[in-house]
């Protein structure tokens, strides 16, 4: 009998998962627990800096990530996150530190001032990648309790998991979510907007553009008769779920649709209940993923 040691990951929740998007945090932790993925919250993690920090000072932005990478390295763990923006910022900083020796020297010195060291041995992963590529179909099927037969899902990736590097999946035609949805019995719908931008922060800074971009995603998902949108990014989820009345009014058509995190959809299929998935936090009627054969109910 061979003994394999399961890797333990540093879990990086990111700032928005502390409050606004805490349902993503709750559902991610519970899904990982059920799947036997060991994730320990990164000790005293700091904000990754997201896109705004890069727009102000790129070196400080890399340093913010380096501190998180250093803490994870101390524990000999790779980092896993569920936020697309945290993923890209940490991944990009790690890559720049690897490729650019003078930047690496500057960061090394700065980390030392705070008593930390980073040698470049940490990998940055997104939980979706880990579940689909490392655990795979068999592990999911082994834990499958309630296949979501008939649930039509619009798989929405947004931008920052797949672009710019395209190393996790194709930058314009990714398939990770569709494969996962297929394994749990759901049906991905073809709505053509999976990697189009929701507008991100523009929903706050330039609401006209934000409403337009998020609206196009919602509109196409409704047109494709999806039962829900499944997202992998907290900011995309917020944009897609919180402005539906405004968008419906602007477009002059009904754009109301439940918007779930991929961990909530997956969790429902793994037999987790509403509290374990924090479904009560949603602003859209998301209980439908727990409600059984949706299509049967609808079109019977």
């Amino acid at each position: 009998m061979s003994v394999t040691t399961q890797p333990v990951y540093s879990y990086f929740p990111g700032c928005s998962l502390q409050t606004t998007n805490r349902a993503y945090d709750v559902s991610s932790r519970n899904v990982a627990r059920v799947l036997g993925l060991e994730m320990v919250e990164l000790e005293d993690w700091n904000c990754c800096g997201a896109t705004p920090y890069m727009a102000i000072d790129s070196k400080q932005s890399v340093l913010l990530s380096a501190r998180n990478l250093a803490i994870s390295e101390k524990h000999k763990r790779d980092i896993v996150t569920v936020c697309s923006s945290c993923f890209l910022v940490l991944y990009k900083a790690n890559r720049h530190l690897h490729d650019d020796s003078s930047l690496r020297a500057e960061v090394r010195e700065a980390l030392q001032a705070g008593g930390m060291v980073y040698q470049g041995n940490v990998k940055v992963r997104h939980l979706l990648d880990l579940i689909v590529n490392d655990l795979g179909k068999e592990a999911i099927e082994r834990h499958l309790v309630r296949p979501l037969e008939g649930l039509k899902v619009a798989c929405y990736y947004g931008c920052q998991l797949v672009r710019p590097y395209g190393e996790v999946d194709d930058p314009e035609f990714p398939v990770l979510l569709e494969r996962l949805m297929g394994w749990i019995g759901a049906t991905p719908v073809d709505f053509g907007m999976g990697t189009k931008c929701c507008g991100g922060m523009l929903m706050t800074t330039q609401p006209d553009i934000g409403v337009d971009l998020t609206g196009k995603v919602l509109k196409q998902a409704c047109k494709a008769e999806a039962d829900c949108i499944c997202t992998i990014c907290p900011l995309c989820q917020m944009n897609l779920e919180a402005y539906q009345s405004k968008i419906s009014a602007r477009f002059g058509e009904d754009c109301q649709l439940p918007v779930l995190y991929f961990t909530q959809v997956l969790g429902a299929a793994l037999g987790l209940g509403g509290d374990d998935l924090a479904l009560g936090d949603a602003l859209t009627p998301v209980e439908m993923v727990l409600a059984g054969n949706r299509q049967g109910e609808r079109h019977a």
């Binding site: 523009l202 800074t205 602003l283």
Partner: protein
């Protein structure tokens, strides 16, 4: 801005861009317009990505800096993955944002700039960002008159317990500040 100043600005901008990974590819732009066609915000931009590089070559980069155009970039990286010349255009946009602030060319109340600066202040102070604090400070900084437009959503989130007014500072904030001060402020890489 006179011709000499524009020339200096252009030189500094190109120097910074050339220092970025694959930044030297900016010289290979063939003006095909794939970037602008791929950009979800270009329809609202006074200077779309292709026009920005045309302005650079025409010695009119100062006009780009003086408009809020670059702050309409949402960092979706569509231009970057599609550019046939391999120009990392999203990074070019970041450089335009940074240099515009450094040179004092972009309005202080430009929404995107205010949001970024408010965010950075919060992260520096606590080591983490608080959504509630970020939005409140951003409103105070920009459009107090439009504050009411944020109320319905704020209330919905608050009722769900999703807006915490409690802020948290990381334990290692002093160490983080020592690191950040040691690094100093710097341009792109």
């Amino acid at each position: 801005m006179n011709a000499t100043q524009v020339r200096d600005l252009t030189r500094e901008f190109l120097q910074n861009v050339h220092a970025l990974p694959n930044g030297e590819k900016i010289d290979q732009c063939l003006q095909c317009g794939t970037c602008s066609a791929s950009c979800p915000a270009s329809a609202r931009m006074k200077y779309s990505p292709r026009i920005i590089l045309a302005a650079l070559r025409a010695g009119k980069l100062n006009e780009v800096f003086e408009s809020p155009t670059v702050w309409f970039c949402a960092s979706c990286y569509s231009c970057t993955v599609r550019c046939p010349a391999g120009i990392p255009f999203t990074e070019v946009m970041y450089e335009l944002k940074r240099l515009g602030i450094k040179k004092g060319l972009v309005g202080k109340k430009t929404h995107g700039r205010s949001m970024a600066e408010t965010f950075v202040d919060g992260v520096y102070k606590r080591g983490r960002s608080s959504d509630a604090e970020l939005i409140c400070r951003y409103i105070l900084r920009t459009h107090l008159t439009r504050a009411f437009s944020f109320v319905p959503l704020g209330w919905k989130l608050f009722r769900k317990g999703r807006l915490s007014l409690r802020t948290r500072t990381i334990t290692g904030i002093e160490g983080l500040h020592r690191m950040m001060n040691a690094m100093g402020k710097g341009d792109a890489r």
